[in-house]
C-alpha cells in the first residue's frame, strides 16, 4: 500500500513537473474550468516549513498542475532563483496563482479563449491565495473590469516580457 501511495505521489509530482515545463496540462478549456472551480473551493493554506530558493521551482512545478492556464501558458519565467532566500509553500502557490491571473487577463484582452477566460477569472476572488483578504477584493475589481484593470494589464505585459527573457535564459519554454 505504501509503495502504491509512493508511486502515485511520484507520478503526480512528475506529471506536474512535465506539465509546467512543457506548457500546461490544462490547455483544454474543460480542464481549465475544472481546475479553476477546484481551486476556488480548495481549503485555505497554512504556513509551512520554508523551501530554499534552489528547490522552489521543483515545488512550484508540483503545484502547477493544479492551477489553470490558457493554452501555451507556462510558469517557467518566475524568478525563484534570482529572488533567492526562501519561500513558504503557500507563498509559492500564491505566486503561481497571481501569475495565472495575469495570463488569463492577457488572454481575455487578446481574444484568446475569451469565454473560458471570463469563467476562470470569475472564480479568481475565491482562490486560496487571497480569499477573504484585501487583495482578493482588489482582484475582484480588476477581473471585473474596474478602473485598475488597465494598469494591472500593463504590469502583466511587462512581466510577460521579463518571463520570456528569464525562461529562455534557463532553456525553459517561455509562456505565451
Amino acid at each position: 500500500m505504501k509503495r502504491f501511495i509512493g508511486a502515485a505521489l511520484v507520478a503526480a509530482l512528475t506529471a506536474g513537473t512535465v506539465a509546467a515545463a512543457t506548457g500546461h496540462g490544462a490547455g483544454a478549456s474543460g480542464d481549465a474550468l475544472t481546475l479553476a472551480s477546484t481551486l476556488a473551493s480548495a481549503p485555505a493554506r497554512i504556513v509551512s516549513e520554508p523551501v530554499p530558493a534552489e528547490r522552489a521551482r521543483l515545488v512550484a512545478d508540483a503545484h502547477a498542475a493544479a492551477v489553470p492556464l490558457p493554452a501555451g501558458g507556462t510558469f517557467s519565467g518566475i524568478r525563484w532563483e534570482q529572488a533567492g532566500g526562501q519561500f513558504g509553500r503557500a507563498e509559492i502557490a500564491a505566486v503561481l496563482e497571481y501569475n495565472a491571473v495575469c495570463q488569463w487577463l492577457r488572454a481575455r484582452r487578446d481574444g484568446r479563449e475569451v469565454g473560458v477566460a471570463e469563467r476562470v477569472l470569475a472564480t479568481v476572488p475565491s482562490w486560496p491565495a487571497w480569499r477573504g483578504t484585501e487583495e482578493g477584493g482588489v482582484l475582484k475589481e480588476i477581473v471585473g473590469g474596474g478602473p485598475l484593470l488597465d494598469g494591472v494589464l500593463a504590469d502583466c505585459d511587462a512581466a510577460r516580457a521579463r518571463e520570456v527573457e528569464y525562461a529562455s535564459s534557463r532553456g525553459l519554454p517561455p509562456t505565451r
Binding site: 529572488a83 532566500g85 526562501q86 505566486v95 491565495a129 500593463a154
Partner: protein, 132 residues
C-alpha cells in the same frame, strides 16, 4: 461696496487663506507588520502576503521600522507574478525613517521581502509599517 460683492470678496479671501478648493492631500494606506522575524536568508513578510499600491496614495511603496531595529536590514518589494525585484534598500540599525522601495501604478501587486545584513544574525519580533 455692494454687500453681496463684499461678501464674495471675503469668501474668496477666506478660501485663499485656508486653502479651500485646493487638491486634497493624498492618503497613503498604512499596514502595520507585527513581529517580523528576519534571518540572513531573504524571506517574505507574512509567508508571502500580497499587497497592492493603493488608489489613494502617491504611487510609492515605503517601509519603516516602528521599533528601533537592532541590526542592519535589507528590505525590498518584488512583483507578485514573477518575483521581479522592484526596488528596495538597506536600513541601518537604529533607523526608523521610511525607506522608499519603488513606485508603481494603482493596483500593482507586490510582496515585501527582507533579511538582515550578512554576518549579523537573525532579528526577531520587530514591528514595521508599510506605506503604499
Amino acid at each position: 461696496m455692494d454687500r453681496r460683492v463684499r461678501r464674495g470678496l471675503v469668501l474668496a479671501l477666506v478660501c485663499a487663506l485656508f486653502g479651500a478648493g485646493a487638491a486634497p492631500a493624498r492618503a497613503q494606506v498604512l499596514t502595520d507588520l507585527t513581529d517580523w522575524n528576519l534571518t540572513e536568508s531573504v524571506s517574505a513578510w507574512g509567508g508571502g502576503t500580497q499587497f497592492h499600491i493603493s488608489q489613494s496614495g502617491d504611487g510609492w511603496a515605503a517601509f519603516r521600522w516602528l521599533d528601533s531595529p537592532a541590526k542592519t536590514t535589507v528590505i525590498s518589494g518584488n512583483t507578485c507574478m514573477d518575483l521581479y525585484y522592484l526596488g528596495g534598500g538597506s536600513i541601518a540599525a537604529g533607523n526608523t525613517s521610511y525607506l522608499n522601495l519603488f513606485s508603481g501604478s494603482p493596483g500593482a501587486c507586490f510582496v515585501l521581502r527582507g533579511r538582515t545584513a550578512i554576518g549579523s544574525g537573525a532579528m526577531y519580533n520587530h514591528d514595521g509599517r508599510l506605506k503604499r
